[in-house]
């Protein structure tokens, strides 16, 4: 891989930019791999990267039915934070955050990670109690989180409205300064480039139609639209389509797939310095480096694989945004879209071995998967390589729905659920 650098930009400029190498290639799939990852989203590509980088397992194929990063990875609102409530969650999201902090350097790819702070607003007594509880829990777990007064909220984020006469006045906020945003596409591309450079095969336009098992029930490979591909280890990392894929191996999941919409405004000059989220008013917002306001809220209420949703979700979200930021009331919205989010009953992910030997699953991130991308890929690679979960993902089992060890992050998942 030819490294990106300032020097490279100058060099290539001298050669009319004809020397830039392909970031990843388009290999024909082999008949056999050591590991197959199903789903070339951020989590899947990160898994393949860490399998190669940390465990030396390079005979890996990442199979993608569409184009890499074309699912939820390319559709999210890019918020990164680690201020969830429980120890297990603090573990994985903070592990991810620490990886984010060095990611551009590690991948030699600018993922545009900006630690501008994530502020979660409190509008009533309940919000204050829940937020402060989170602040304390986070600090006990070594995760930065602090409580702000309304004036401090205004100082940190000037365009916000802290007037007393609104329906849901701001009575405070929890701020995670290390949180922020990154460029979602860049994360997929960065991991893809680095993984491909180490020999991982990224096979696009290749849809898995079946999961093959031997007479002992263990995984032997997959059937795809481009033929049979064998492997003793298969990791399913396919977000909204997880139920569909796991069904192919006879494994039933505690998941429901819902549409999650998002929208962006016309680009404007920098006005919003941080990420702002509000559970009560029901929306979250940040400003991209292109200048667009990136806005999202909760899922549509019915299970769907359509990647679209109803208009009233968007109008309700924008009403909420204008309540908190009256200054944005005349922005023109430019584009809206949807993804498919797989939601678990306790709003926590599943990164685990399954009852089928050789089959691993990474799913259930619901509306909050992007922030965990590096951490998820990292510990999932460990789980596959060692055939045992890492201690960071040890709690995120499939069994917890039977033995009751749920990790209830409905409050921390906040608006989105």
């Amino acid at each position: 891989m030819r490294k990106f650098s300032g020097f490279a930009v100058v060099r290539e400029a001298m050669r009319a930019h004809k020397g830039w190498a392909e970031q990843w290639n388009t290999p024909e799939p082999r008949k056999q791999y050591d590991v197959i990852i199903v789903g070339a989203g951020g989590h899947g590509l990160a898994t393949a990267y860490y399998l190669a980088k940390e465990f030396g397992i390079t005979n890996v194929a990442v199979l993608e039915k569409g184009w890499l990063g074309g699912g939820n990875t390319g559709r999210n609102t890019t918020i990164i934070r680690s201020n969830y409530l429980y120890d297990e969650s603090a573990g994985i999201y903070n592990h991810a955050l620490k990886l984010w902090e060095g990611l551009s350097q590690e991948l030699n790819y600018n993922v545009m990670f900006s630690q501008r702070g994530v502020m979660m607003l409190a509008h009533n007594v309940h919000d204050v109690q829940v937020s402060k509880r989170h602040v304390h829990a986070n600090r006990l777990n070594g995760v930065d989180n602090e409580w702000l007064t309304p004036q401090q909220v205004k100082d940190y984020c000037p365009p916000i409205n802290i007037g007393k006469s609104v329906r849901y006045p701001i009575v405070g906020a929890a701020l995670q300064r290390r949180g922020g945003v990154a460029r979602h596409d860049a994360v997929a591309w960065g991991y893809a480039r680095a993984a491909a450079d180490m020999g991982v095969h990224i096979i696009q336009n290749c849809e898995v139609k079946g999961i093959n098992r031997g007479s002992d029930g263990a995984v032997t490979g997959v059937e795809t639209t481009r033929g049979t591909i064998n492997a003793k280890k298969v990791g399913v990392v396919a977000a909204g389509h997880t139920s569909v894929l796991m069904e192919m191996a006879g494994v039933q999941m505690p998941l429901e797939s819902f549409p999650l919409q998002a929208l962006v405004s016309e680009p404007v000059k920098p006005i919003l310095p941080c990420v702002v989220m509000s559970s009560s008013v029901h929306a979250y917002i940040s400003q991209s480096d292109k200048g667009e306001l990136v806005i999202g809220a909760g899922t549509d209420q019915y299970a769907s694989y359509s990647q679209t949703g109803s208009m009233h979700i968007l109008t309700d979200t924008l009403e909420a945004i204008c309540e908190v930021f009256p200054i944005f009331s005349r922005m023109k919205m430019m584009r809206s879209w949807g993804g498919i989010v797989d939601v678990t009953p306790d709003r926590s992910p599943i990164l685990a071995k399954t009852p089928v030997s050789g089959l691993f699953v990474n799913c259930g991130w619901g509306t909050g998967g992007f922030k965990a991308t590096p951490g998820s890929g990292n510990v999932f690679a460990h789980t596959i390589a060692k055939d045992e979960p890492h201690k960071i993902n040890a709690g995120f089992t499939l069994e917890r729905f039977r033995n009751g060890r749920l990790i209830d992050e409905a409050a921390a998942a906040a608006v989105a659920h």
């Binding site: 336009n205 039933q252 429901e256 797939s257 209420q301 299970a303 359509s306 109803s310």
Partner: protein, 120 residues
Amino acid sequence: MLLIHCPYCEEDRPELEFHGAGEAHMERPKNMGDISPEDFEKFFFIRENRKGLVFERWRHLHGCGRFFNAARHSVSDKFICTYKAGEPKPELSDEQIAAVLPPAKGTPANEPIVSKGDAK
């Protein structure tokens, strides 16, 4: 916005009047206290989450208030029919199902567009 036919109000109403209530025909165990953790998990947490024809519950919350069931395609989001609570799962004809399938050409955004020129 979805338009949903309430079988009690006997007309199509906008989605805002309704509340989605998950997978239909989930029979509640009569002996909840005695069943195994596996069976409890099956009732409480495991869902088919099908990509295709689904049978689901809806409640006309801001209307007549009744629960009812619907047959819908979860890719096109088109409804085939709705039926009152307590009625059995309807038999659906091939024509009914064909009418709600997503278009064969013109793909949802992440379906592959296979072209020979892509592979090098």
